[in-house]
């Protein structure tokens, strides 16, 4: 719970972009313990409570090395938050950073709220209010992006679903509590086995919601898309077509950075990260030297492939090779130049004339279908936005799991109700509503972690 300052928090403190180094910051009473339980120093010594720079490895739960890291230990009060702080510097990319972060959660810390490090720094007397305000202003200025607007609609759906689960749990609680508080009256309460069934229903709804974490990740970080095809097939034109309208609003997708080799296309609020645009933008009159090799590399990194073919000319050997490469991958085949006489018949392909913008809408729909298709948005609407939300849902899930175990162990109704109450409160935290238990963060809510 955000209000409790004695909990240890962790988060990735550097921008989620390709960079030479990434930092995970831990702060709080147990920061040293958490770090110690996932870190093996090269000297094999335990972490001491002193200001040190240590070299070693972060280990997975099975003892395998995740990454080689540098650890900075900063005991309170000589740290940014004036609490015990450990910073883990990793050379790995974002995936590695995430795995390390997950390990810190497993070891007892919880995801930091946005701005929580700064809030702690303030409440522990490290920053004055004007400094804090300044940081906040910078952060808040950025928030109103099209992406956030797109998310709000979906969030509304998620809030409703969580409210429904809460309502269901509340009803079960009422059933249990009525029997406890009015033992001598004939209360028509649900028997325990029916309560068990209903708990399972809520639990499976939470599991469904957890599946949407993937969508949240997509919305947050985008989908890596490879644009491949032989020279002159229209890759560059397609890129320009996709980029055209959204150029003005694609600049601020949290956690992604455009650099020389990536372009970001905003498709209905979902960022498509087009890989290796440098390759695509190679002027047509230059000989494309890297060819297939380059395509292979893009395909390896991509989550979705857009493969272009020229419908007006017979398929070449190169085209055949590309078709081989995209077999069993999430790919959309585009048959370009439909404005010219067609000689190719390619099953499951989309016919387009990129030059005249024909087939663009259909392509967009197909892309969305590919990205979100499996998650069945109609039946599973809304999504979880970040690690914090996912963590909340996991906690609620585990409380419901305990409730079931409590029933199965034959423990008394009171204990079932304790589990259900916790689950309800955890969900309340998601909605930021349960004021009776939680104090919370204000304006600081909007702070970026680790500023």
């Amino acid at each position: 719970m955000e209000i409790f300052q004695d909990e240890t928090i962790s988060a990735i403190a550097t921008a989620a972009a390709p960079a030479g180094i990434g930092v995970i910051r831990l702060s709080g009473e147990h920061a040293f313990d958490v770090a110690d339980s996932i870190f093996r120093s090269s000297t094999r010594r335990k972490i001491e409570r002193s200001r040190k720079i240590l070299h070693g490895h972060i280990l997975d739960s099975d003892g395998k090395v995740i990454d080689e890291v540098i650890l900075l230990t900063m005991p309170a009060p000589n740290s940014y938050t004036r609490e015990d702080v450990v910073e883990i510097q990793s050379h790995g990319g974002i995936t590695v950073l995430r795995r390390i972060m997950q390990r810190t959660f497993d070891a007892g810390s919880r995801p930091a709220q946005r701005g929580e490090f700064t809030k702690r720094a303030f409440l522990n007397g490290r920053l004055d209010l004007s400094q804090a305000q300044a940081v906040m202003d910078i952060v808040q200025a950025k928030t109103e992006t099209s992406l956030e607007r797109a998310q709000q609609n979906l969030e509304g759906k998620m809030s409703r679903r969580i409210r429904n689960i809460q309502a269901e749990l509340l009803e079960l609680l009422a059933n249990l509590e009525a029997l406890i508080d009015f033992p001598d009256e004939d209360v028509d309460a649900l028997p325990l086995n029916e309560i068990r069934t209903k708990i399972l229903e809520s639990k499976s709804e939470i599991e469904k919601i957890l599946e949407t974490a993937r969508d949240g990740k997509i919305l947050r970080e985008g989908v890596k898309v490879a644009l491949i095809g032989k020279p002159n097939v229209g890759k560059s034109s397609l890129l320009n077509l996709l980029l055209r309208e959204d150029r003005a609003i694609v600049t601020d997708i949290p956690g992604t950075t455009r650099d020389s080799i990536e372009e970001i296309v905003n498709l209905d609020g979902i960022p498509l990260v087009i890989i290796d645009t440098a390759g695509i933008r190679t002027p047509a009159d230059e000989v494309e030297q890297i060819g297939i090799e380059r395509a292979k590399k893009s395909i390896d990194q991509a989550e979705l492939i857009l493969a272009l073919f020229d419908g007006s000319k017979p398929l070449t050997h190169e085209d055949e090779e590309i078709l081989d490469l995209i077999q069993n991958r999430d790919a959309i085949k585009i048959l370009n130049k439909k404005d010219l006489p067609q000689v190719v018949d390619l099953p499951d392909s989309i016919q387009m004339s990129i030059k005249f913008g024909e087939g663009e809408e259909f392509l967009k729909k197909s892309i969305l279908q590919k990205i979100l298709g499996n998650s069945n948005r109609e039946e599973n609407p809304g999504f979880l936005r970040d690690a914090r939300e996912e963590n909340i849902m996991r906690q609620a899930q585990s409380e419901l799991e305990s409730a079931i175990q409590t029933i199965d162990r034959g423990l008394d109704a009171d204990f079932v109700s304790i589990n259900l109450r916790s689950a309800w409160e955890i969900l309340g935290e998601f909605l930021g509503e349960n004021v009776s238990e939680k104090v919370i963060d204000l304006i600081f809510e909007k702070f970026c972690v680790g500023k």
Binding site: Q5, D128, D181, E185, A413, D414, V439, I440, F444
Partner: protein, 624 residues
């Protein structure tokens, strides 16, 4: 007018709140005056003849642990004891006892009359005199002035009491008592916010006219338990010696009569303005609200040993007499029932408890306290708990000591008072176990362990009690130590012992206490095989609960520890919320009116958002 006396503490009203308040103040060395409209009616039970039940027995045991009186008097005045909820978890086990109302009153009066520093007087207080620095004293209807340093109002349902029986309405306290008509005007003039609440009580019937053979008998438990720690050695009694209760049910005919006459019910025709409690609905509102329910349970309780009066629980009503008689006669066993006292509804003035500090002193009136139904609660136990706390805090003020404020994690009493002064109430407030978020650690079986040391510190716990308490505490510690230190290795020898006890083998080294976490293991079961000392039931309950439920208990203790930090962040009493910019208007108003003592309390105020709390935290931080 003349000055008739001078006291440290004057308590207005000698019901369950007033009695505890006066006893606590007097026992803590304050010269105390306990006033009542009628000395015949001290500690009267105008409603049901029972003490305890879920959450209420928790309160009674907490009162006892702090050095209050209710448990001791109930133990010697009750004629049947039952432990409820025994199959629903140790935290909600609840003792309920049927009281002999008259014996209870007589015993309580005897205790008061034998308490040093305590005067009892039959008086009607009409006015509370205040000056700029606080309370000055009270003026009676006979124009006597009593000077007081602290005043505790425990006026129950007497303030502008109005009784309604069908179309008959008259000014009255409960049970035909005199009402106090003038005092609430005086309090209103002082500027107190007054609420108007309603409650009701069912008819009493003559047991000679009842056919118990048509009802279900409900006897007491074979083992007589007690509320007070001082009487905790359980004794076997003959069930026959306990007065039983009886169950019967309403039926369609009953409901039909009520439905046909519903227009004559005061709650339906608008005669009653007061707000009644949801958990104690009249039979007419039960029938209106649950039309599908074909029967409602009634519970017949004896009012005492020396009377034929029986209380018909579940039948609270304010319908006119002819209707009451008609529908009673449709019920199995009550076909010929003769009503001895009519059921009635009563409306009364009480204070909005949001005006109180957690000490139960009014925020704007130094030295003026209020406890019990006058704070919008319902129930003898709730009243007694508040009376005790008001008495303690008035006395602590006299002695210039820090107040005693129980946290929500300390006691049900803490939950009760925190709810009242933080959330207020819009119906008579009744304690329920579901109001206590930490109820697993607030068990009635550990009330003594939780609170006796606090009672000792403020001087309410006698030497005998303290010695008995220390012995129990030490024994629990000793047994816990033995169990933790005795290590079992997975040897053949150990496992053969386990096998002989029909328990699963162990495969790793573990302390003996670990075994007690298993659902099929009890202390008795492993006692002789592992050469453990013999212990009595009380200790065994503590040991088994502590280990068997340790996972749950530890989790709750963790939650408490987290919350504690917020509770410990105190807000200065003179904080000017108008100076805190960025608070939303609603939050500012609420904070000004409630003046929470701590950030923890502020978080529980409805209408104060997390953002407001953060604003407040930042303000406090930057104005340190």
């Amino acid at each position: 007018m003349f000055t008739a006396g001078e006291y440290d503490v004057i308590v207005i009203g000698a019901g369950h709140a007033g009695v505890e308040a006066a006893l606590a103040a007097a026992r803590m060395g304050c010269s105390t005056l306990l006033t009542t409209l009628s000395l015949e009616n001290l500690a009267m039970m105008p409603c049901n003849p029972s003490v305890g039940g879920p959450a209420k027995s928790h309160l009674v045991r907490e009162i006892d642990a702090l050095g209050g009186q209710m448990a001791l008097t109930a133990d010697e005045s009750c004629i049947q004891f039952r432990m409820l909820n025994t199959s629903k978890g140790p935290a909600v086990h609840s003792l309920r006892a049927q009281a002999d109302k008259k014996i209870y009153q007589r015993n309580m009066k005897r205790v008061c009359e034998n308490t040093e520093n305590l005067d009892l007087k039959q008086l009607l207080i009409e006015k509370i005199v205040m000056n700029d620095s606080g309370v000055e004293g009270v003026i009676t209807e006979t124009q006597e002035f009593f000077r007081a340093r602290k005043i505790i109002i425990a006026s129950g349902t007497y303030l502008r009491g109005r009784v309604i029986i069908g179309e008959t309405i008259f000014d009255s306290g409960p049970n035909g008592q005199r009402p106090a008509m003038k005092l609430s005007d005086c309090l209103k003039d002082l500027g107190l916010k007054i609420l108007r609440f309603k409650t009701g009580t069912p008819a009493r019937v003559d047991s000679r006219s009842l056919d118990f053979s048509k009802m279900e008998i409900q006897p007491g438990d074979p083992i007589l338990r007690s509320f007070s720690f001082m009487n905790s050695d359980s004794r076997l009694v003959e069930i026959e010696n306990q007065s039983p209760c009886y169950l019967t049910y309403t039926n369609e005919r009953t409901h039909e009569i009520i439905r046909k006459n519903i227009h004559r019910a005061p709650m339906a025709n608008g005669i009653i303005e007061g707000i009644g409690p949801r958990y104690c609905p009249s039979i007419e509102s039960k029938i209106l609200r649950f039309p599908d329910k074909s029967r409602h349970q009634l519970f017949l309780e004896p009012e005492g040993l020396g009377t034929t009066e029986f209380y018909v629980q579940g039948m609270s009503t304010s319908l006119p007499m002819d209707v009451q008689i008609d529908f009673l006669h449709t019920i199995a066993g009550l076909e010929n029932a003769r009503i001895m006292r009519a059921g009635y509804a009563i409306e009364y003035d009480c204070f909005d408890p949001l005006q109180l500090k957690p000490t139960l002193e009014f925020k704007n009136f130094a030295g003026l306290f209020s406890a019990g139904q006058s704070n919008g609660t319902s129930g003898y136990e709730e009243a007694a708990a508040q009376g005790l706390m008001a008495g303690i805090n008035a006395a602590l003020q006299i002695h210039k000591k820090d107040p005693l404020i129980l946290k929500r994690s300390d006691a049900y009493i803490g939950v009760l008072i925190d709810d009242l002064v933080t959330k207020g109430t819009n119906e008579p407030y009744r304690m329920m176990t579901s109001r206590a978020e930490y109820r697993l650690i607030l068990r009635q079986d550990n009330a003594d362990l939780r609170l006796t040391p606090l009672g000792r510190k403020i001087g309410l716990v006698s030497n005998d009690r303290w010695e008995k308490f220390c012995a129990k505490r030490d024994q629990i510690d000793e047994i816990t130590k033995i169990l933790d230190e005795k290590i079992l290795t997975p040897s053949k020898e150990t496992n053969s012992i386990l096998k002989s006890l029909e328990l699963d083998e162990i495969h790793a080294t573990l302390p003996l206490s670990e075994l007690l976490r298993r659902p099929d293991v009890t202390y008795e079961k492993i006692r002789s095989a592992f050469e453990l000392p013999e212990i009595d039931d009380e200790i065994r309950t503590q040991i088994e609960t502590q280990f068997f439920y340790s996972g749950y208990i530890e989790k709750q203790i963790e939650q408490v520890a987290k919350m504690e930090r917020l509770e410990d962040k105190l807000i200065p009493e003179n904080l000017d919320y108008n100076d805190v910019s960025n608070l939303r208007d609603e939050a500012r108003e609420k904070l000004i009116s409630i003046q929470p003592r701590s950030i923890g309390q502020a978080t529980r105020i409805s209408g104060v958002s997390p953002a407001d709390i953060s604003v407040l935290l930042i303000y406090l931080e930057s104005h340190k």
